[in-house]
Symmetry: C2
Subunit: 188 residues, 2 copies
Amino acid sequence: MSASEDPTAAEQEHRFERKVPAGDDRTRLVCRDCGFVNYENPKIVVGSVATWQDRILLCRRAIEPRRGFWTLPAGYLELHEEAAAGARREAWEEARARLEIDQLLAVYSIPRISQIQLIYRAGLITPEVAAGPETLELDLFTWDAIPWDQLAFPSVHWALKDHRAVRGQAVFAPRGNPPGEDGGRSHP
Amino acid sequence: MSASEDPTAAEQEHRFERKVPAGDDRTRLVCRDCGFVNYENPKIVVGSVATWQDRILLCRRAIEPRRGFWTLPAGYLELHEEAAAGARREAWEEARARLEIDQLLAVYSIPRISQIQLIYRAGLITPEVAAGPETLELDLFTWDAIPWDQLAFPSVHWALKDHRAVRGQAVFAPRGNPPGEDGGRSHP
């Protein structure tokens, strides 16, 4: 679960300027030389709260931002990828975990960084997990053992608490941001 | 609800070539001149099945693709926008409709065009609606009056049928693509 990509990074390229293209009603990044419009769009993060029995899979980040802090297996959806398939891929890449996805746990909006997070409730098909290249270490945590003060992002807190809130419910509406929370702070 | 944006359009700009940047594991669009990596990401469409009593709001498209065909109020999420706020904005822009969003009806993945659609179940706050600039005309349809053979996209069908399927359910899990359907055809 990463908050690193800055949607305005392309501005640092001198070829682009911000202007309203003909027929549009918003400012876009337009190449000064060739007129190419680099549309910027919100990004989709897909991830999971994945459990084995009553224990939750968390990974300690080997990459910035928030290197060394604990997170859920999650990352950016790739082109031509279905949402749930992306959540399974991220669990494999970060934790060598194989998921059986149950249902959509939450949709979080992080408008400051133009991010929409789709977090699934999932079970591990086997408890065998191992750190992938973006993970320093990982573990399966009981609720009381979760390292609350070392979680990487506000939305990791949200997802863990939302997972707890719907415990035992076979059918539920996906959760959203906690009231008044926009994920804009680096740590809750 | 648009399927028009082609994620490979940037390839037509001669400045870009497809290569794997250092430290990455996938092919990206990289500028031949300056090395700028134009990361391509899936796009998020937000929309709604919005009703007044038992009638559903549909809009006839004034723009390509599928000009003249009927669609739900929906469009691309903008930067720095929350998902539900985007669905409300699109309903206003296309139909001058004011929504009270109930809950997430469906998450559809259209991998061919790298699109994730978040479609909400919503009520109209008032039945006063009017065509916005991207709409030729609009109407509130009873189920039997829906112009099934003139719907713009497969996912419009899906959303209408999913809305019907959860009728009367106060709480439900969001629906997904119909089994075996990837939205890849231009019309069902």
